[in-house]
Symmetry: C2
Amino acid sequence: MTMCPKKTTKVGRPRSSDKETSERGERILNAAEELFALHGYDGVTLRTLANAAGVDVALINYYFGPKQQLFDTVFKRRAEILNQERLTALENARQASAPDVIAVEKIIEAFLRPLEVAQESDDEGWRNYCALLAYVNNSAVWGPVLMSKHYNDLVDVFIDALRQALPKADDADLYWCYHYMSGAMSLTFANTGRIDKMSGGLCRSDDFQAAYDRMIPFIAAGFRQVCDR
Amino acid sequence: MTMCPKKTTKVGRPRSSDKETSERGERILNAAEELFALHGYDGVTLRTLANAAGVDVALINYYFGPKQQLFDTVFKRRAEILNQERLTALENARQASAPDVIAVEKIIEAFLRPLEVAQESDDEGWRNYCALLAYVNNSAVWGPVLMSKHYNDLVDVFIDALRQALPKADDADLYWCYHYMSGAMSLTFANTGRIDKMSGGLCRSDDFQAAYDRMIPFIAAGFRQVCDR
DNA sequence: TTGACAATTCAACAAGCGATGAATTTTAAT
DNA sequence: ATTAAAATTCATCGCTTGTTGAATTGTCAA
């Protein structure tokens, strides 16, 4: 007779009393968020992900279907929340400025500040999501699909506000400037650690307040220069 | 006896007179440049690459060693050329401004314009390389390694020029602004087609002149706002 | 003419990939 | 008590991955 070594995993549905076995769907999404942000879609295997989430590999498919669908789910999850917070920030700024039309700086701030808040929050997932957003935004494969799908409506609202704030601008100017803002923002929260090396440690990529406090006037001045001539 | 179907490939070293068989190393690098830029490091398999280059898969290893080393070679190839052109542009601007110190706009222009020229050149490879640069710059895996390795010296030179042009700025301001510029630039030549969709076709991501003509004043105004207060 | 070397193809390797069907266990409704 | 459904593990499928060794053919100097 052979010894039966202690089996650490049990087959079948776990007891609902069993702690550590709950919220496995969320655990998968969180791990996926982190890994996709760091290594990109093709850089993450389902087995690595399963391991990081402490879950059997088949469970990923059970919850989220094929890999592509999982990626879409991860990206979508916080997009809606972020959009909502940006819209609220814009609406608040509008009311604070009334009856005047809202100033460029305030629009930029409504766009950027929710990201700073997210990145500084206790929920580490938001930091990962911001890096994921940077990855998708810069990807020729995912960008045109996912960004358009989940963020185009928001863009329209903000472009509209900017059009009112900068009445002399033509639309091409506005869209290009928006594009620059999007790029600056992306690299900033891609959080690659590049600025740390570049500056010899003087600047730290996780110093979000330093990043955003300078970024808002930087971008606003750019808009004014190009769109308010 | 079985029929012998026409063999399309021949084993062994090809005749040197054989056209279509020369410069295979370069063909591999060019295809790699394009595919890595589009799909990222993990999104490209050596077989796909071999197929795109019209070459046997084993030949990639023969010329360039393992995959990582190939990636490094691809990235390095044009980095040196680009650095040289940027330095020349900066030197030209310096002499044109002498004896005054060189103005911010001119520095930004020396940094950005060589990229526009590259992207508009007949050599399609430059367009691919720019997209690759965007990928690496935004990647948390490759960015800190490759960007620092091949572009840090250049950064020092340009930061130095900016420090002279903006004597009131402290270094943290300069590095952060440089970072925003880098991000805006990256997304612009990542060439994802995003701005096309966003603007409903009004702006085209391959309209490099439109992109750079607005980008230079945009960035310069940002620098002035943050670093010249 | 021989022999070293360069350039190429081919076949194969072990490892890893995403996906799935079957088995197992628990829950919850009937 | 019975049964359908939910949640999980496991084993395995057919492919694909990066890499390498052996075979083949051409070049060029000695």
